[in-house]
Structures are given as C-alpha cells and as structure tokens.
Amino acid sequence: MSDLAGYRGYEPVIGLEVHCELDTVTKMFCGCPNSFGDAPNTNICPVCLALPGSLPVVNEMAVEFAARIGLALHCEVRPSIFHRKNYFYPDMPKDYQISQYDEPINVNGWLELPASGVRIGIERAHMEEDTGKTTHVGGGGRIHDSSFSLVDYNRAGVPLVEIVSRPDIRSSEQARQYVSELRMLLVSIGASKARMEEGSLRVDANVSVRPTGSGVLGTRCEIKNLNSLRSLVRAIEYEIERQVDLVSTGQVVVQQTRHWDEAGGRTIALRSKEEAHDYRYFPEPDLVRLDFDSDRVARIAGALPPTPEQRRARIISLFDAPTGTDLVATIVEMGLDVLVISAIEHGVVPERALSRTANEAAARVEDALNLDPGLYARLLMMEQEGKLTPTQTKAVLQAMMDSGGEPESIASTMGFEAMDSEVVADLVSGIVDANPDEWQRYRDGEGKLAQFFVGQVMKATRGKASGKEVIAALDRLKAGAK
C-alpha cells in the first residue's frame, strides 16, 4: 500500500457514499416487517408493492434513527422534505424511489478517524427507501434461451440512510478506517446492524487523482459493488493506479460509474456521464414536510447512546496513566467496553480489567458479549484479592462464558476454595523445614529457587494456592530469619 507521496507525484481524492439499512421493526413507508432472510415476497403489502391507490406513510422510528445518525456525526438536523427519484427498474415497485434531494434531514457534519484524529467531513445523511432484489435465472434448455428473472420485494421499502462524505479521504487506508469507524458508530447508536455481508451496509467510492499539493479536483469515477472492507481497499488502490497511469501519460480520466470485479481484481466501466440517468427529481406530493423542532432534536440527542469515540474516551478517562489506545479501540470495536468499565467501577485495577478483557474475553467475543458485566467484575475482583489464582480465574471465566452463572459458585464447584494466607504460611514453613539446603541457597540469594517452593506448595495443595501468596510467605520467613 502506498503512502501519501507514493503515487508518482499524484494524490488521490476520495469521497464515500455509505448506504445503511435502519434497524427498524417495520419498513419506511408501510407496516411490513423489516426483516432479513425471510422467504421471498412474504413481507409485502399494497404500499411496498406499489399497488395502484396505495400511499406512503413515514415511519417515525426511521426518522428518529436518521436523526440519531445525524447527531452522532455532528450534523445539523433540520426540517426536511422527500423527493421522488424517477427511473425504471424491475426491483423498484413504484419505478421511482422516495428519497431526499435538496432538503435532507442531516447536513454538515464530520467523523473523526480514531488512529489519526483526522476529521472527514460529512456533506449530508439523508433518508430513502431500499429496492427489492432481482435474481437472474439461467437458460432452461429449450430452443430459445429461456432465462428469466425473479424479484423478491421483501427488501423494497426498507428504510435507508445514505451518508455522503466530503472528498476529504486521501488513501485507501483512510477509507477503510472511515467505513470501519462509521460501521461501529451505526451499531453503537442502535441505528443499523451495519453488516456488509448482509448488505445492510453498502459503500460506493468516488475516486479522483490530482498532482500532489494541487487545489483542483480531478475527474472522478464512482466505484460500485464494494462488499467488504477488503474490496474497498483493493478497488480504491486499483482505481488510483489506473487513473495515475492515465494522467501521467497525458491521457484523461472519463467520468464514469465503474464496477469492482472482485475475482479479476479490477474496476470495469458501467456507464459514462452521458449515459447517466435523468432522475427528474421533484417533491414527493404524497408526503408532507417533516418538521423537526429543536425540542425534538434535543430529546433525541439526550437519549443518544454513546458513539465509539465517546466510549473510547470513557475507558481512557478511567486510567491514571496513558494506556494502549489500540487495545482500547479493539475493545470498543468488539463491544466489550462495558465489561472493562464495569470491572474498573467495581474496583478492579484498570490494567488488569483491560488485559483480562483483551485476552480471555476477546478470544471468545460472541460469548463474552453475553456476560453480565457485574458478575464479570466480581470475578476479576476475586482474582485481584487473591481469592483465585490467574489460572483459576481463567477457568472460571471460561465456565461463565460456556453457561453463565456466578463466579463464586462456579469457583466453589470447581473446588477453587480461597486459601487463607495463614494456611499458606504454615504450609510454606513446613516445606522450608523439610528442604533446608534449598532454603539456605534461597536465603543466600538464589532467587530462582522461589519457583521450587511454589511448585512444592502447589503440589501439596493441588494448585489451590496462589503463587504470589507463597512468595510473600517466603519473603516474610526470609525477613524474620535474618
């Protein structure tokens, strides 16, 4: 991957259009379930099939989710109207899409990339509806090619928000970070499941190149069919190289819509600007203006779940000393920050809370997400107070992730009784007496013999004693014997 100066004297200028399906119960303009993966054409009604005479009614929850997205992206949330975007397409029942055009609900925001702190401008984030899905079925073995298409309208009318960035992105890596951070944000605020693999998050990239340092924008191409972060990075890299090849040899970039061919690892021209649709936008006469007064915005803002940025800041604020921000970012990305915060709030030392979570919990993230943060905190406190050894703690944690339960009772069932430090001291004393040579060498400074004594105690207690307790008892004996 090339850095900023690495494209033969050119720099890329990238803007992203991200479509996300909102995680509402019902569709954008009717009462049908908004549900992925159901049998074809089961979540349909006169409205989302565009039967003659049917009319749309705006889903209030979709508007609230759209406003949440706007607020989380630091946008101005304002009164808006819907427009019709007219074009014929078999999987679009009305043959127009209800969208927002020149008066969208959210404008002028930004998203901060976590690693660099670079802010990517958000031009707008507007509401619209999804289309159905067409499946093309191949030839049927008759004389004529009998291929046909099947349309599933379950997705038709599912609420979408399209988030349009400003052309502020300067590398494929920044593009990856932007989408990754945006995806986390959408999940974080409960607005979308944002699953690229299910199509609930879709990305189009606008890419152009210009001589590094130039203030002028080059001719851009829009790349479609980016179904994963990997595709996004590969497609942008390919497209930058393709455009630099053109302009550095005196050729021109033609404004086009291009398709990312994952298997071929290249972008292919779909249509040029001249062939672009004339969408004949006009205000949707079946809907009225969406009024959005400041009270309503304030109410939604007040109930807005924290963004990833806020969640990272929250963890970091609990540390006295600087901490590994990468680790914190990973924890937040996995959604395990609630465990860390709960543990710290219950008195667990922040470093311990972070490392246990980043190691044992993160290794089984799906199960860890089901952990009760309060019980998790109690487990880590038991370890911190010496009631459980690190090995025992890990074993109890695995059990909790397997089948739930309280750490105390699991530890008890596993036979991990807390060993009283006096009992440990007595045991250590006995073992010292039984091994006078080793004890003498240890007293003379042969520190590695500590492991010998720990091993003996573990043997005697079948692993129930804490290594730290044993060493503490040795140290006390050593000090007393002087």
Binding site: S54, L55, E60, V151
Partner: protein, 534 residues
C-alpha cells in the same frame, strides 16, 4: 322525481322498504338503461345484494345500519374495490382486482351504502368527455349525441339517469364538477386533504380529491359527511375539527407529520381508527340562510362563458341578492395562468405516478426479449393516446435543465394563485361563477383537438390548484334544453358556507326536467324512457 339519499335511507331505517328490494330495482334499471348510456364498466350485482341483505338484517335486529342505509351508490372506476375490477378505464389494468378497498369505499359501506357498480371514466381520469375510456364512451342522459363530460362522466350520467342515487368521482381539474354541470346534477370537490386518497388510483397527487355526486345539495353534503375525515394511511389528509356552535371547520393540530413505528397498518382489508363524521347527518347548514353573506362573481370563470351559461350565473347571483346576500363582481387576473400551470403540474405528477404500470407485478404484460423491452411494449400497448401525451408532457417538464422553467415555474404560479384567492376571500365569503364555458358538447367534437378539450376545465382548475372546495349546482337549461351548472367556490375548509350558498342557489333554480334516459323513481314506480330514437 328521482329518489334522494335522505329519503331512501330514512325508509330503509324505518323498515318501510327493504334495502334488498331497492337494490334489485336499481340493478334491473341498470340492466335496461345502461345499454344506451354506458355509464358502468362493472355492475356489482352479487356484491350489492350481499350488502343489502346485511343492511336488512341490521334493521330487523333493531340496529342502525348508518346514514346511507340501502342507498345505491356508483363508484368511479379509479377507486379500489376489493376483489372487484378497478380498471381506471385502461387496458393496462383491464383485469386487475385490488386486494383492498379505498378508505372512501369502506366508509360508504360502513354507513350502509350499497355499491351497485363501477363507472366509466376517461382513462386514468385524463379527459373531459369520458371519450378517452379504453372500453366505451358514456352518453349524456339528456342527449345521446353529446358527451356527459369527464373524467367522472360515468358517475355523473348514472346519477342523472337515476341508475344510482349518489356516486363518487374524483376531481383533479374539474372531473366531478364539469360532468355534474353537463349532466344536470350536483357535484362537489372537497378541500384538498378533507377526504382520504388512500385507494384512489393517483393521477396528479397534489390535485386529486374524491368527491360526491347527487341530485341535491343535501345528498352531496350527506355523502361528503360520510367520506370526509382524517385517514392515517394518507399523509396529506387533514385533521379537522368542527366547532359545534358555529359549524365552522378548523385544522385540529395540523397535518400528519409522520406515522408511528409499528402502527402503520396497510395490510389487506384492515381499517385504521377513524374520526367521527365531520358533521352530523342532520344538516343545520342546509337551512339556506345567507343573509349578509358577501358573494363575489368571479369574472375570469364567467365572462368568457357561452351567453346562455353566463345568463344563468347572473340569475343565480340575482337570486342570492334577493335572499339577502351582497353580490359584486371580482377579478383575479392571475387566473389567466392557471390552465398553463395545471397542464405542467398534473402531467408531471402523472408521469411519475403512472411509471409503476410496467408489466412486472400486476396488470397487462406484453412479453418481450428482455425486461426493458417488456416494459416498453406493455406501456405502448396498454396506455391510450391521451395518457401517453400527458406522460410525455410531464416527463419533459421534469427533465434536467427544464425543471425550473416548467414545473418549478408552475409551482410558483400556484403559490401566487393561493395568495390572490386569499386576498379576495378577505372581503368575500364565497365566489360564484360558471362551472363550464359551455353546455354539453357533441360526441367526437373535441377528440381531435386536445387543447380545445383542455379548455373545458378552465373554470374548474383554479380550485384544484388552490386546494379549495367548490361545488356545481344545476341552474336550468340553455336554449337547447341542456343543463347548465353554476359553481360556488370557497376558501380551504369553507365547505359549510359553500353548502349553504349552494342550497340557496338550488332553491332558487328553475326546475330541471329529468333526462329522457332516466329511472325516475327509485321508490317504486319505474317510469323510464329511452332517448326516443328507437
């Protein structure tokens, strides 16, 4: 005398006549008279008898079947009727049966009305003569060689000829009032948003309103009171409150801003919660008291009308003066631009509304090699020429680079008109004028000249652009014995005063002889005749 809705429902509710017997008589009348008239596209005999039986059972059980108990109603064929063909008089929907009913249809049936059939119209409500129907042309009951007007010509002709007591139509640029005037019946377009459009197949969404036809102002007000009211399934439907003391209408808490998660219920056949009738079926507003009302005779919709028509408007104005109103001529010069603005806005919205007829999900499909060709062939063969003309006009008006000059400009004209009307209504309670520039024209007379046809709506279009209510009331005949309509216009939510003035005009109107094709007494005596040329 043709039967009135008030009489029919009163007799049915009192158990003096059964809804079943009335229904059967009307079905027979349709059978015999409609062969000449061609007002109906579908006769709903089984459906009607079923509903009539239900009404009779309710009466027997001592329950109130509603204010339209047993009243035979005809429905324009662009209103969805569950399981019954709803064609919009187009080949493209020839065999389509909607899985749901329009809100207005459900409201009528719950008020006890008996729907006897679906009426003919200009295809997708585009036209002024009902000659643009893909199936057949409806004749004017007063003269078989003349048109009934349009686009709701079938509904107007059905009521005029007594084949239904009342009817529903839709009015985008005059499609209720113009045929009402040409057929000698009362027809009304409500304030935009007073009546739900859910289940009305859209022509031009920002102009379309459903409204009633009847032989009297009282019947029209009665049907209006049944179909009006907020519908959560139509975002443009208004929430209106009626002041009990003054009878005046005001906006309750504005228009619906948005639906609610999980509450939107558009599943087949379901019915959302509904408002009570806007006003009770006892119409205090029908007492004709108009003393002190300020009436303006609107120059722009009157002075260019045919002399016979203009004379009738003047007589109506004189009658209002004699009843105590003050009358003066008013002018809104901006109305000069109304027809032009309408013929940009309506086709533009239509071009988008009619995109869904693509052969994929319902209606006509003409197969082809690929999807695009299939869509193209389906639309080429399924739409008639007037529909295609308007789709092309509208597509052009919305095109990149032309939007501002055409659609944008037309919307600005619309805003100017609303302001101009508001200025006139500061000093006037209602406006009076002609409904049509002339009485019924001949079959085929204007089919070759679209612009001449468009001009038939010049008097009615302004109310649609402004979103205001207006009503056409029969006022005698012209020198050829053809009915003349005068129009009462009111500001938004001005229905109460509009009905009051309309009732006063009706009481002063010269008597109108029933048409030659007429089932003249729904209550028992069948006294129909033919056109007299058989």
């Amino acid at each position: 005398m043709r039967a009135s809705a008030g009489d029919v429902s009163a007799q049915v509710r009192q158990g003096r006549v059964s809804a079943t017997s009335i229904t059967e008589r009307y079905l027979e009348a349709i059978e015999s008279f409609d062969r000449e008239l061609h007002a109906f596209l579908t006769v709903m005999a089984d459906h009607a008898v079923e509903q009539a039986t239900r009404i009779d059972r309710l009466v027997e059980m001592g329950k109130d079947p509603g204010p339209l108990a047993g009243v035979p109603v005809a429905i324009k064929d662009n209103l969805c009727t569950r399981g019954v063909p709803t064609t919009c008089a187009s080949h493209i929907l020839e065999n389509w049966r909607p899985p749901y009913s329009a809100t207005v249809v459900e409201k009528l049936e719950r008020a006890g009305a008996v729907i006897v059939g679906k009426t003919n119209m200009d295809e997708f409500a585009m036209g002024s003569s009902t000659e643009n129907s893909a199936f057949w042309a409806t004749r004017n009951p007063y003269d078989a060689d003349r048109v009934p007007g349009g686009s709701s010509g079938g509904s107007a002709a059905a009521v005029a000829s007594g084949l239904s007591v009342v009817a529903l139509g839709s009015d985008t640029g005059g499609s209720i009032r113009q045929p009402a005037a040409l057929c000698g019946v009362v027809g009304m377009k409500p304030t935009y948003g007073m009546v739900s459009r859910y289940g009305l197949v859209a022509f031009a969404s920002s102009l379309d309103q459903v409204g009633p036809f009847g032989t009297t102002v009282e019947d029209v007000a009665l049907v209006f009171s049944v179909i009006a009211g907020h519908d959560p399934r139509d975002s443009t439907s208004l929430k209106v409150r009626r002041d009990v003391d003054t009878g005046l209408l005001t906006l309750a808490d504005g228009v619906a801003v948005s639906g609610q998660e999980g509450v939107v219920d558009a599943s087949y056949g379901s019915m959302p919660g509904e408002d009570a009738y806007i006003w009770p079926a006892s119409h205090g507003l029908m007492d004709g008291a108009i003393e002190g009302l300020r009436v303006g005779v609107l120059k722009e919709i009157t002075s260019d009308a045919a002399p016979d028509v203009r004379r009738r408007v003047e007589e109506a104005a004189a009658a209002l003066v004699s009843l105590g109103a003050t009358v003066e001529e008013v002018s809104i010069p901006e109305l000069h631009y109304a027809l032009g603005a309408y013929y940009l806005i309506a086709p533009a919205e239509a071009s988008s509304n009619l995109a869904r007829y693509d052969g994929i999900r319902y209606g006509l499909r003409v197969d082809a090699e690929d999807t695009t060709s299939m869509m193209s062939r389906t639309r080429s063969s399924g739409f008639g020429s007037e529909v295609k003309r308007r789709i092309m006009l509208g597509t052009y008006a919305l095109s990149a680079g032309y939007y501002d000059a055409y659609y944008g400009q037309a919307q600005r004209v619309r805003a100017v008109l609303v302001d101009a009307f508001a200025a006139v209504y500061r000093d006037h309670d209602v406006l009076l004028g002609a409904t049509t520039p002339a009485t019924a024209f001949g079959v085929g007379e204007k089919t070759g000249d679209p612009l001449a046809m468009y001009l038939s709506d010049v008097c009615t279009i302004p109310s649609n652009l402004a979103g205001h209510p207006a009503i056409s009331v029969p006022f005698g005949v012209d020198d050829d014995g053809l009915p003349v309509g005068v129009q009462v216009l009111a500001p938004a939510l001005g229905e109460p005063v509009m009905f009051r003035v309309a009732a006063a005009i009706e009481s002063a109107a010269p008597s109108l002889p029933p048409p030659p094709v007429c089932f003249a007494d729904g209550m028992g005596v069948q006294s129909g005749m033919g056109y007299g040329h058989e």
